[in-house]
């Protein structure tokens, strides 16, 4: 087995271990909360007998261990149970809310990467101080406040961008292929719908992207500054390569490890930020679903979402690990 393959196999095994542990922790924590979701489900006039029967049906009257194994056994088969609030399969709910979050998170990730790498490169040579300070200042503002300010300026003040949802009222969603509106609209040649979806994505994605972009920019900048003092850079310069080529061809890849680690960590923050940002922008994604599920103590939904978000975080970090191993062969050893 080559180093890279062994490395990948280790990461995948770790992924399953982490998911198992995550599920167990979420499950135990939930069961410790003294709530009665069944009363909330059946209403204030429900008799104690019907509440007891429903609790039995939902396995809520068994031990935590029994409930956990029951949940896990079904989860392995893709059955995450029935949402106590929406009365639909949690898998169906997640399936309908996840694409909006994926689209938002991907857009935010691309924005964060472009902004982060761009600002990191520009400021690596001591330039772009104002840009860096501006980004830092924006990154220091809490996301809910940043979102509100962006809404005030670009939606309420300038009327440039919409403030709520994925599409304007009256604009029909494009036929579903990927469930990502921007992609589906393009695939069907609906440019008007595509532009409307892009406009709806910009403000929430920017709100999400500012903090990670600042973190990536700062890490890349400091990493590049160290690299640029290395002997081989001096050699490259001695060969009369332009500063741009030195930076992009020689320094960037060797400085990528720290920003990649940072990017992986930022994914977690980005997923956490989704909850707040979707709330402010009324963006119908998994964040909104999560908030609603937590508030109603919809335990199957909370467990399902935790599993999906946790799995996303672990998978993305495993991919980052693999990218780092690719960038720096010493890590494969």
């Amino acid at each position: 087995m080559t180093g890279m393959r062994r490395f990948a196999a280790e990461r995948v095994s770790a992924l399953f271990a982490v998911l198992f542990a995550l599920t167990a922790v979420v499950f135990v924590l939930e069961r410790q909360v003294p709530a009665n979701p069944v009363r909330a489900l059946l209403g204030t006039s429900a008799s104690n007998a019907s509440i007891a029967a429903k609790r039995h049906q939902l396995y809520l009257d068994r031990s935590v261990t029994t409930q956990f194994w029951h949940f896990l056994a079904r989860a392995v088969h893709g059955d995450l149970g029935l949402s106590l609030h929406t009365r639909r399969a949690v898998r169906t709910d997640i399936g309908s809310f996840l694409p909006a979050t994926v689209e938002l998170a991907l857009t935010a990730a691309v924005l964060a990467a472009v902004l982060g790498v761009g600002v990191g490169l520009v400021t690596a040579r001591g330039k772009g101080r104002t840009t860096r300070l501006g980004l830092l200042a924006a990154a220091s503002v809490p996301q809910f406040l940043l979102g509100l300010v962006l809404l005030l300026v670009f939606y309420s003040g300038l009327h440039w961008l919409p403030g709520q949802g994925r599409l304007s009222s009256g604009v029909a969603a494009p036929p579903a292929l990927t469930h990502l509106y921007t992609v589906d609209a393009l695939l069907h040649g609906q440019l008007g719908t595509w532009w409307d979806a892009v406009k709806h994505l910009l403000l929430p994605a920017l709100t999400l992207a500012i903090v990670p972009s600042a973190a990536i920019a700062r890490t890349l900048r400091s990493s590049l500054q160290t690299t640029m003092r290395a002997d081989y850079i001096r050699t490259a310069r001695a060969k009369a390569l332009s500063e741009r080529k030195v930076l992009l061809r020689h320094a960037l890849r060797n400085s990528a490890q720290a920003p990649l680690t940072m990017a992986g960590l930022q994914v977690g923050l980005l997923l956490a930020g989704v909850v707040v940002v979707e709330d402010i922008f009324g963006f119908p994604g998994l964040g909104l679903y999560t908030v609603r599920s937590i508030q109603t103590f919809d335990l199957p939904a909370v467990a399902g979402v935790s599993l999906v978000l946790g799995a996303s975080y672990v998978v993305i970090n495993a991919l980052v690990d693999l990218a780092q191993a690719w960038a720096d062969p010493r890590l494969r050893v």
Binding site: A35, L151, G282, Q295
Partner: protein
């Protein structure tokens, strides 16, 4: 504020958000010269002239997704506007009153023994699938509610038999006298009429619950043409509606969970109304905006302070009385609600029972205790009223010598208290509303033994017996007396303090007219009477 399965506790970093909101108000309010129109006090009982046949779209927003548009499962508050526009029942409350009037029935009679109800049905009513409404449809609709057996099914539990002697007569016989039965039918959560043809077609294995999670099969003025969970719902005018055609062609309801975002959308003209939970400090900025108007209506929303009678220290009646005296309810209500609420006059919500029959008051008195520790939970709402009420109660109790620790709790948590009352807080602040305009739908669940909103397991067999007597008493005056006595007996035990009757404050674009309200349907507006002038 709470309703089973519904959550209003949804706040986001409240302190800083409030700061942002202040900025919002300054930045967004336009400087109109004329003050906003304010409908104060008594609820509106007559609609403004309706521009029948006009078209256009009304844009509304919900703070949270409704659980389901299935009327036999739905038991929340947010979403009632959708249910009541798509579905109708046999009877309904007259706007702004507790008077029950025919809806899809044209008349009804009650037998002397109170066990048989006969409904004469309206001719020419069509379901949204085009099939006719008749007595067989009523029977199928009632039966479906019993089959689904979800939260609102309790309203039909007393039914013994259902008869359909002819296509436009429906007879229902009860197992025993249940005086609130007609109120159940008039309740916004009461049985609604569903097309039996559609039920058969889409019934599947779950009595059509999957289908009705995204569709409607009612007779109402609007039909649900889009239900995109978490995003938006669209209601479209039903061309075959039997009544006066509604003015708006389309109602677009967006899910906008952030109140600040809703305020921005309202002021920008992208949203036509905020139906509830408008932050009261922001109302001043609205009143200076000629594009907006405030409509506030009396509602059954009542702020309650529960005291944990099942554990020390509040198992002590004397201490509970001292709390009632120490918090100075009149001052509390004046400071927190201002013009948007009043001191509760009775333990029953304003309008359900004559307050002179069962008055309640808590005269303030100087109290001094020696450092009694109290834990205090409250369920918050977006208007900020609950939080301010909790903070002020804390201040007043601490001034009297109590040591009070306050924390926000979620509604679903409060439902767990009865099973673990020893670990529940000593005090709980909630705002609740009854299912219908009948004292039984309040007393039985709030202070009756085992009641769903009786969080700290208060129990008094004499109180329960009086409510049972009232429920079985076909003489309304005598029945009211029974409920009044039950309320008074309970109030003397101080398990709950009845603080305030809260108004439902709505903020509308000035161009919308015809806003009506029923006090037993908080956060809800009948859409059929609305019209746009702009």
């Amino acid at each position: 504020m709470s309703k089973p399965g519904r959550v209003t506790t949804r706040r986001l970093a409240s302190a800083a958000c409030a700061a942002a909101l202040g900025f919002t108000a300054v930045a967004c309010s336009s400087s109109g010269s004329s003050p906003a129109a304010t409908t104060s006090g008594a609820p509106t009982s007559s609609a403004a002239p309706v521009a029948a046949g006009s078209s256009g779209t009304l844009h509304l927003a919900f703070l949270s997704d409704m659980s389901t548009p299935d009327p036999d499962v739905f038991y929340d508050i947010e979403g009632n506007t959708v249910i009541l526009s798509a579905y109708e029942g046999l009877v309904a409350y007259k706007p702004g009153s507790t008077t029950i009037e025919p809806d899809l029935a044209t008349s009804y009679t009650e037998s002397k023994d109170g066990l048989t109800y006969t409904f004469k049905l309206r001719h020419g009513v069509k379901f949204h699938d085009g099939t006719p409404f008749n007595s067989a449809a009523v029977k199928a609709s009632f039966q479906r509610r019993l089959d689904v057996n979800n939260a609102p099914s309790y309203m039909l539990a007393p039914v013994k038999t259902m008869l359909t002697p002819d296509p436009y007569t429906f007879v229902v016989k009860l197992k025993q006298v249940v005086t609130p039965f007609l109120d159940y039918l008039a309740s916004s959560w009461g049985p609604k009429m569903l097309s039996p043809t559609a039920l058969k077609k889409h019934g599947g294995k779950d009595f059509g619950q999957t289908y009705l999670n995204t569709h409607d099969i009612g007779t109402g003025p609007y039909t649900l043409t889009a239900f995109v969970r978490g995003d938006h719902y669209t209601l479209t005018r039903f061309a075959g509606y039997w009544g006066t055609p509604p003015a708006y062609q389309t109602i677009d309801i967006k899910i906008t969970p952030d109140m600040n975002s809703q305020i921005l959308a309202l002021k920008s003209g992208d949203q036509d109304a905020i139906l509830h939970s408008f932050p009261t400090p922001e109302l001043a900025s609205v009143q200076g905006d000629s594009d907006l108007k405030v409509d506030n209506f009396d509602s059954y929303l009542t702020a309650l302070l529960y005291m944990n009678v099942s554990k020390a220290p509040l198992s002590d009646l004397a201490l509970r009385k001292e709390i009632a005296e120490a918090i100075d309810v009149p001052d509390l209500v004046k400071q927190v609600y201002g013009a948007y609420g009043s001191v509760a006059q009775s333990m029953y919500p304003k309008g359900i029972l004559d307050p002179s029959l069962a008055p309640v008051s808590y005269p303030p008195k100087a109290v001094k205790v020696n450092g009694v520790k109290l834990s205090f939970g409250y369920t918050a709402d977006d208007s900020g009223l609950q939080q301010r009420l909790a903070e002020l109660i804390q201040q007043k109790l601490e001034a009297a010598g109590f040591k009070v620790s306050v924390r926000e709790v979620q509604n679903a948590q409060t439902y767990g208290y009865p099973t673990d009352v020893k670990h529940a807080p000593d005090l709980l602040l909630e705002t609740n509303t009854p299912d219908a305009a009948h004292p039984d739908t309040w007393g039985r669940i709030v202070w009756g033994t085992g009641g769903g909103l009786n969080f700290f397991n208060y129990s008094n067999p004499k109180v329960d017996a009086l409510m049972d007597k009232g429920r079985a008493n076909t003489d309304k005056a005598a029945s009211d007396q029974d409920y009044a006595k039950a309320g008074e007996l309970m109030a003397a035990d101080y398990p709950i303090l009845f603080l305030a009757s809260s108004q439902n404050v709505m903020v509308w674009r000035s161009t919308v007219t015809g806003v009506t309200f029923r006090p037993e349907e908080p956060w809800t507006v009948p859409l059929a009477t609305l019209a746009g002038t702009g």
